[in-house]
């Protein structure tokens, strides 16, 4: 039954280099064709489709025998993400160059033929000039970064001691506490933000308790302020801060702490010179997990913030749903992509590479 190890051995990793190149090339071609396709007038599109589709089917059939399973396995997820994740950004970019029109859909086509049959490209940077020239958008970008930054600091200040406490707890309690941190994540995010309305309102729980205790005479105004937005963000994303910090702190070697105290360091000195530097990766990971989603946040400023709480996610939402200006909303999204998302993605890739090296 058992095969001869000499003759079988470990199978050689098979290479299908030309085929995978073909796969990537085809996917790229399909994307380029799709983007170009969008620009064509409907009549031409239909005609081209009648030519391309049978050709493609013929191509598939004639080549099928030689194609490996491997190629198909790669192609399925690659195509899915390509069509539904990458291509949308090209569409976004193309519509950010269009003009708003009263039509369905409400933007100008990319091409137009004039009376002489000449193709005319309708693409302008007008939307970008508009949002970069308007202080509202600039303020929204800056204030998103400010709100996200301050919330991250608060989440770190609260999350670090909790993570440390959990990591230093004896075993049965540690698992239970960890479960308690994760549990709220499984309940609805929207309902947890909603819960804070009941807390922060003028006649909400906090004001009622403080008045009853006699701490304040007048109810505090907490709803519809930046304070409420900070609370909401810290509350929602606290587990994302605690978990990476915990994962880091739980690996901390007790011997290091003992060595420091044996050498006469006070606990605060030990913390600053041993624990804190060693937990830096956890701090960075946790902060990223809070900062990145906080920047684009829509629900929290919409429910807890006031009308003057500017955040870019909310600006984009209003531009799309209230103003119904699709091209400007697209331009806001593209600028957001370049100003906010690209740097964080770059930072994360650098971090990943560092981790791989370690």
């Amino acid at each position: 039954m058992s095969p001869d190890p000499q003759s079988q051995g470990a199978p050689k990793p098979r290479r299908y280099k030309p085929l995978t190149m073909l796969a990537a090339g085809l996917a790229g071609l399909a994307g380029a064709l799709f983007v170009g396709w969008l620009a064509l007038p409907p009549g031409l599109q239909a005609a081209l489709f009648l030519i391309i589709a049978p050709a493609f089917v013929y191509f598939l059939i004639s080549r099928r025998m030689g194609w490996s399973d491997r190629w198909m396995v790669i192609a399925i997820p690659l195509l899915w993400f390509f069509v539904f994740f990458l291509v949308p950004f090209f569409v976004l970019g193309r519509i950010s160059l269009a003009e708003t029109m009263i039509a369905r859909p409400p933007y100008s086509p990319l091409w137009e033929t004039d009376r002489d049959g000449n193709l005319e490209i309708i693409a302008s940077l007008e939307n970008y000039r508009f949002i970069l020239g308007d202080a509202l958008y600039l303020n929204a970008y800056l204030s998103s970064i400010k709100v996200a930054f301050i919330s991250t600091i608060f989440a770190l200040l609260l999350g670090y001691p909790i993570a440390y406490y959990i990591a230093r707890s004896p075993e049965p309690r540690r698992s239970i506490l960890l479960l308690l941190v994760i549990l709220p994540f499984w309940t609805s995010f929207l309902l947890r933000v909603y819960a804070w309305i009941g807390f922060l309102r003028r006649e909400g729980v906090i004001n009622n308790v403080l008045m009853w205790l006699g701490v304040i005479d007048e109810p505090l105004v907490m709803m519809q302020t930046d304070f409420a937005v900070y609370i909401g963000i810290v509350y929602t994303y606290l587990p994302f801060m605690i978990l990476p910090l915990y994962a880091n702190l739980v690996k901390l070697d007790d011997a290091l702490l003992e060595a420091a105290s044996d050498l006469g360091a006070r606990p605060s000195v030990t913390f600053l010179t041993v624990t804190l530097p060693l937990s830096m990766p956890g701090i960075i990971a946790g902060s990223m997990l809070v900062f990145i989603p906080a920047i684009g946040e829509y629900v929290i400023p919409a429910l807890l913030g006031g009308p003057d709480t500017l955040m870019i996610g909310r600006t984009l939402w209003d531009e799309f749903f209230s103003a119904r200006d699709w091209p400007v909303a697209s331009a806001v999204a593209i600028v957001m992509l370049f100003l906010v998302v690209a740097p964080t993605m770059w930072l994360q890739s650098v971090q990943n590479r560092q981790e791989e090296r370690d």
């Binding site: 095969p3 190890p5 199978p11 190149m21 796969a23 990537a24 969008l38 599109q45 491997r70 396995v73 790669i74 997820p77 690659l78 899915w80 993400f81 539904f84 994740f85 949308p88 950004f89 569409v91 976004l92 609260l158 999350g159 001691p161 909790i162 440390y164 406490y165 230093r168 479960l179 308690l180 941190v181 549990l183 709220p184 499984w186 309940t187 609805s188 929207l190 309902l191 909603y194 819960a195 309305i197 009941g198 309102r201 006649e203 909400g204 729980v205 509350y235 606290l238 007790d254 003992e258 606990p267 684009g296 996610g313 939402w317 909303a329 999204a333 957001m336 998302v341 993605m345 994360q348």
Partner: protein
């Protein structure tokens, strides 16, 4: 190391911060008074009103259907992507694929929602499919962004898994498809279950992406809740929250008991 008073106090405050709003939601769902924060006596009146609210029930049903479909598609796509990235060595498009399955994790929801909507509108204009927006477009959108999370989970499980099992099966003459279904899949199945659950939860929870890509007649539960909550607190939302919290608590308890039993059997 001696522990001071500081850590337990901060930890207690932290957990109070995490749970106080949830506890108050539950308490006030049994409140007779319409004023959510003034106690007017015990009653289950809001649960009754919730059951009569056809719009809410319909939306909940749509959310469940969307979540189940999206999570299933996401599990297939995420697992395939993770398998390809961990087992196929180097191939052209690997970098592209890695980028495309990690980017949704850091991409703001408003951007994903808007860009997907624009894609669907453009596709409808060009291909005539998908015709209009509704449940199908929400399913596609949710499947795409949750697949990234499934891929992360599946990838870490595939990396940890003992590859000699697969090699042994291949040495015994099993083809790649057989190896995948007979060896790899059963080994990583628990990770895929938790991936499916995560995708399902994320889909049930999503408001922003669904608001962009949904159409008339396909409002998901978060969309209905949001439109209610925007106008202020309403007690039937509290009742709904209590039901959801109850289901989650029950599921976690059951999962915990099952896991404990399994680990006992393993020992």
């Amino acid at each position: 190391m001696k522990r001071g008073w500081f850590l337990p106090i901060v930890a207690t405050l932290g957990f109070a911060f995490l749970y106080a709003p949830i506890v108050s939601l539950v308490i006030f769902s049994f409140n007779e008074s319409r004023l959510v924060t003034v106690w007017g006596g015990f009653s289950t009146r809001w649960y009754g009103e919730l059951l009569d609210d056809g719009q809410m029930l319909g939306a909940a049903w749509i959310s469940l259907k969307v979540g189940a479909w999206a999570a299933s598609i996401a599990t297939v796509m995420g697992t395939l992507a993770a398998f390809v990235l961990t087992r196929f060595g180097k191939f052209r498009g690997k970098l592209l694929m890695t980028g495309m399955i990690t980017a949704p994790l850091v991409m703001p929801e408003v951007i994903i929602g808007l860009s997907l909507l624009l894609l669907f509108v453009a596709m409808e204009g060009v291909l005539g499919w998908p015709a209009g927006r509704g449940m199908l477009t929400v399913i596609i959108a949710h499947a795409t962004f949750t697949a990234a999370y499934v891929a992360v989970i599946a990838q870490s499980r595939l990396r940890d898994m003992d590859e000699s099992l697969e090699e042994a099966a291949r040495d015994l003459g099993a083809g790649p498809v057989r190896v995948f279904f007979d060896i790899t899949l059963p080994v990583i199945a628990p990770a895929l279950v938790s991936g499916w659950l995560l995708a399902f939860t994320l889909s049930l929870d999503d408001l922003v992406i669904a608001s962009f890509v949904s159409g008339p007649g396909a409002s998901t539960l978060p969309m209905v809740i949001f439109s209610k909550v925007r106008l202020g607190v309403s007690p039937d939302v509290n009742a709904l929250a209590t039901i959801i919290i109850g289901i989650v608590a029950l599921a976690v308890t059951v999962a915990g008991v099952l896991l404990m039993r399994q680990s006992k059997r393993m020992r």
